[in-house]
Point group: D2
Chain length 462, copies 4
């Protein structure tokens, strides 16, 4: 708005002058965002965020006052509530089966999409993966996004049939391979030197690579973030193996972006070995609603190849969530959340150790897992652990899991012994609990209090 | 809220009684929605829609006041603006790689997802596909959803390699097959008996089916809605062929749900032949932002099989948009929009016919296309049509396209002669214009006015 | 936002150019509003209205990012919901006891206030009071605003004690005089020549003026809009009388601004006589929530004198409502509403006439009342009319009143015979119904239907 | 919403059960609010607040789906943005010239108004005025509300002409008396025993009361919160004097409710003397936008008498702001804000003392002022202080004032020597700064930093 010609019947000129000058810092912030395409150092106010979103939305043709629409898709939004929640952004992102292509009809949405990707790249760098070259947001689940990555790899390795996969008992991770039509080669985890934690069976990887025809191997898939006692895969060694055998390497980094420890592994893995694509969830790392994933990589063409495999135009809603969240937090805000999380992880660990001592349980040693912890119950009777799990939930504790070795589970024709434990070996039932981004001391305190109460009760029950 | 115990210091009891009774109609509407799971006859007010969404959101565990979260995904939403636009719904829909499974942690989101699917099924029935048994919303583009359908079919036809496809020059439609890793068998359209419109080459379909090994054919893919002069595929005959040869038949019904004509073809096709899955876009049919598709089918297991192929948990944002839109319109509201569209299509057609006469163009006869029209320019010089297209756009007319036969285009290794025309034969350049749902008389009048002006100008230029 | 330096990594320059150009019409509308300070011809979109409000809000010092506050009033808004609903406008309007003075700390609020007053002045002109020179919105009820006008008159007529008042049985109108501390001289209405309607007793006015000491008369107060069968006061004659006797004349125009008939009286009254101030309600004329009134007049100093009597700084919330409403409607929108109202008034009248014939009632002839109608029941038994009134209300009809001559009512020490009827004479009970701005055909149809049903029932009861 | 009959096609019954149970705490909070009518201990979430407001709004007849309106005021809100910001509450509060009367047509608004008043009464008790019996919110400025109080007193003291007023140089405070038509008797403040602070001249009060005819004195008006070096009036002694002489005593407590010190004076004053009405601003004490005041008193009838003097129906917007704010803060939240303020006041004081020492200024000793401080400049040249004031403002510091003894100012015919200083005596120019509710350490630090910089600069200038 240009206030320079306002009549002094509306406002004395000297009052106005100062008020107009006071708008400068805001204008500078917007200018810097558009020019530098980096995370702002400090978070923005809600008003400023909405202003930018509204201005971008105004650049989409469905919001031009003089626009008439004679196409099959004109981004008409018939329900006001829906238009409102999307700031009248209707055209989505991408075009003609390339998620990164700009739409002439939707300039604002296109900028929003690209800017979000640029901010995400900056964030990935800040978290420690400095060599990352390119990334983009896909409005699909992490699992489906892994599927898309595998499908896009087929163009490069047309004979690829097999995916070598370090076992993690998470259903959609497994399905990401079968849905894409590939054959998973399951490599069970191992307990190295009688450690508590489960680690990557590198030896078995080597063996299987040796057995298979190289060009029939589509890629290696490893996983970073997971439930204890499984540790983060040995990314560095797997990356070196991938480089040595000239095999693509895709990392399921579902909620690993929040951990500098994991990001460091990825950066190192790429430095000394080979990592092609890293896929992470937006909701788990960026505290937005479920629905998006980020594909990142160290080679722009490789990343773009995935974007070009998405058939159709995609929702801009997830980009909008991430865009607003990143501006709202700023770089400092996000890094602070990560720092807080790490501290809360230690808090949770200490509390569980104390509790373990008191109730004859054991907090498993899992140094390779910076987010999740497992508390093993030796002393409980057969069905008590499961009971404990459900009692926690009815008392308002969500997210913990009780895992007990049990019968075999079959998914898409593949059998998994002791599903949920990531291994064929057995151990006593255990409870997992995670300190993920956004957790508070209150969460931990209430959890420990409720768990203590329940263990007291169960003690009495025996 | 229970007002029965309110002190009369706040309000006299008799005033209150009448006001409380006046809430009944609203309560009945909500009750009916939950019990009948059908579209309401008449649209709801925004307030009532928001009330239901808020009440559902309150059932998700992240919104319980006493909840503490110890998992890796706790639907924490850090940015208030984002929480607000999603009504604090954070958990998405689906679970463990099944989009239709309920989440214990997210009861509200689960109900929202299922209810939306139920309303969509009712809508499909209302539009004329009464035999449809099941449907669900996928928060992905139509193209990617077709990809998902193909991938899910592989489980049923593991040797399937080929997709028999009636050519339509729409890139993401083609990519839906190549991304899924299948080999498209392109069947060019034909001009039957020198008609203007392009129709399905049934003969060629038969020939190709005869040549191929049946179990290597994954399916037939046909398309309903498309740019004129291509007509809707001959769904009924293709369905009969599919039944005869025992082949799955998937229909790309991108924006066909808005047309009772097309829906009728689909209902008939299934009655006398075989249709397995119908995929349509939410934005193009339901006037919501880009981002979702609906998979519908005549066999519950077949449809569910697709839902089970989505690896991971998906965004609930698209379901929310559709839910709010359908409640806002109600059955009558939606049917009225469809009726209006049909009338506007006739209006557009008549206007273009009049204009064609005046400017020596020809409005192509395309009876099999109830949405799009093509105006053929014989009299214009070589580059004028393209110029016309871009001039229309700079004058605020979006969605029209000028198509001219031209050089061959290659997509994922496949060559298409005269890309954009859906055929190998050539004809004069033409302009397409569509009357899609939500179009207004103003859209048509302004378009005709601008087009007339431009044709006048071009006439002068020659 | 300045998009000129955006990298083409975000968007191709040619796409951007067209989108930026498309913002021009919007910029022009804003520019014209600020420069011309007139109602826009056509209504604005919600997005554009919010944009202007947000930009104004940004000019208030509490919204400067660098502002620190060391005063006793810093417009800090602690509750986000409250900040949101006021667009972070916190400083109110006016300063140091002058509602029209600009605040250096609140440039945006000041502009908003002045601009609203300017648009209101334009509206008053459009409705037919072309000679109106000045007006402003007061965030108080019409009654309290009349009180303020009387109090401000005291400065000009320090010996003023009496207000000559043409009786209207509306409590807060009467209280506006007693609260201000003046003595009302009640002039009963009269039925001229056995007409149905009640008109101003001009003769009695003259008599009373003759009896009193001129300088002890503060002013004459007349009323335009009222319940039938009272008619609009004879404004023109009263104005002439006021001019003749050199007395101030204040008009209670509560909901008369919506009527061109009434506005015409006011314009004429001023032309040939004297009207000092006209007070009207914002909610009743402008379809905003209750809470504001407009003081208008034909002499800028006189109007400003009222503004200077408001002790303190006032709420900007009412100005905001009116500002947004006027932009949303535009001049055409408002005039259309007035035209529709007039037509609905005729519709209501015809329906009631038909009904009157059928049920032996009489629709009173009240040509001087363009908004309200009275249906007189001769044939009903004693308590039936009252019963009818309450039955209508429980059936969802609000706003009608059943009036029956009855016992005397005392307000602030003054006795009124037949309170509610505006006169000392008696007549049969009657029902009033008004066609006020915003009424729809549905309102009228349902009302007539319910009334018919009830009259049928009552007929049976007798 | 009643979920008990939901089909398990929408959600498994056991999932639903737990989710429904989790709604209980919320339901209890609402129930308690309505039954106890007290501030909640802890603040409510925005969602819960909006839920209650929406449910109340639904009780107003304009929001009944079946309502038809035939009155002159039907709370139709034509602009969606306006309806939205008022949650469709349109009918305002009060009726027929009594702000506390319930409206049959607007049950929700009526409850909202009464509930807000009940919460305010609880707040007043919490702040230390335990004997307060009744209070209500008036949607007018503090000054206009004082006017209303004076006007309402006239009914009790019809011969009342004079208001004995302890001078405070705040224009709207003075205007509150003249607008009401009374004659202020100005009692200048005094510097007792050469103290820095200005205190109530009790002796002069006694003298004047002795001189006047008791029944011609309308009341005594005292002021609590004010700019240093004026102190809070000696409320206790004035109250005793009022009791002794049987005179009403009205307290202008503009921003005193936030201070337990001042509230204690009021409670004590009433205990040993007489206080009739206390008027405080909502914006200054409750951090809402400008526009409302609270009238409180120790006798229900006296307070109600004021409510009955408001001619007309009033805006509910201010009640809504206060209602939402009080629920959002809860009792603890508000008390914490007051505690923080007190601490920040000490912080400000210490910082100014340190600065005073360094720059040869003097922080005036004003023990009777718990909110505002005055820094006296002896060493600056004539126009430097004023320059300093404006420089602070252009540097983003709002709310400080530079006061210098100067020429006489005339308001409504009354002359004030040294306007702004509250006294006839002179002293060096000084700067006032206040630590009012909501102030932060950042505010103080930036202010001290800027002030230091400016004093450095001015030092150089000399």
């Amino acid at each position: 708005m240009d206030f320079t010609k306002i009549s002094d019947k509306l406002i004395p000129a000297n009052y106005l002058k100062l008020a107009v000058e006071s708008q400068r810092p805001k204008e500078i912030r917007i200018k810097e965002l558009l020019e530098k395409r980096k995370l702002p150092e400090d978070g923005w106010s809600d008003d400023l965020i909405e202003l930018v979103v509204q201005q971008l939305s105004a650049l989409d043709s469905n919001n031009f006052s003089h626009n008439v629409g004679l196409g099959e898709r004109e981004a008409r939004i018939v329900c006001d509530l829906v238009a409102k929640r999307h700031y009248s952004l209707g055209h989505g992102i991408g075009r003609s089966g390339d998620l990164l292509e700009a739409q002439p009809k939707a300039v604002g949405s296109s900028i929003l999409g690209q800017l979000t990707n640029a901010l995400l790249l900056d964030l990935i760098h800040c978290m420690g993966i400095q060599s990352c070259k390119s990334c983009f947001l896909v409005p699909m689940a992490t699992g489906m996004t892994l599927t898309l990555c595998f499908l896009s790899l087929r163009k490069l390795r047309p004979k690829g049939k097999y995916i070598l996969w370090s076992r993690i008992d998470q259903k959609s991770c497994f399905k990401s391979m079968t849905t894409a039509g590939f054959t998973p080669i399951v490599i069970n985890t191992q307990r190295k030197d009688n450690e508590d934690g489960l680690s990557t069976n590198l030896h078995e990887f080597e063996t299987r690579i040796g057995e298979l025809n190289n060009e029939e191997i589509l890629c290696i898939m490893s996983t970073t973030s997971c439930f204890a006692p499984r540790n983060c895969d040995d990314i560095i060694k797997l990356a070196e193996m991938a480089k040595h055998h000239n095999l693509p390497h895709i990392v399921n980094n579902a909620y690993g972006l929040q951990s500098t420890y994991i990001c460091h592994q990825l950066q190192q893995g790429q430095r000394t070995g080979r990592i092609d694509l890293i896929v992470q969830s937006t909701d788990k790392n960026l505290l937005v609603p479920v629905g998006g994933a980020i594909v990142a990589g160290f080679d722009e063409a490789m990343v773009h190849n995935v974007a070009k495999s998405y058939a159709g135009r995609a929702s801009a809603s997830q980009s909008l969530d991430v865009f607003m969240t990143l501006l709202s937090l700023g770089k400092h805000g996000y890094l602070q959340l990560c720092k807080d999380r790490k501290q809360h992880f230690n808090e949770l660990k200490e509390n569980l150790e104390t509790l373990a001592k008191k109730y004859n349980c054991k907090l498993l040693e899992t140094k390779g897992n910076p987010i999740s912890l497992a508390l093993c119950f030796d002393g409980l009777s057969v069905d008590q652990p499961t009971k404990l799990g459900s009692m926690l939930y009815t008392r308002g504790v969500s997210g913990t899991r009780v895992v007990a070795p049990g019968p075999t589970k079959t998914i898409d024709g593949y059998e998994f012994k002791n599903w949920g434990t990531h291994e064929d070996l057995e151990r006593s039932p255990y409870l997992t609990a995670a300190a993920s981004i956004g957790i508070t001391s209150k969460d931990i305190n209430v959890f420990i209090k409720k768990l203590t109460e329940l263990l007291e009760t169960l003690k009495g029950d025996k």
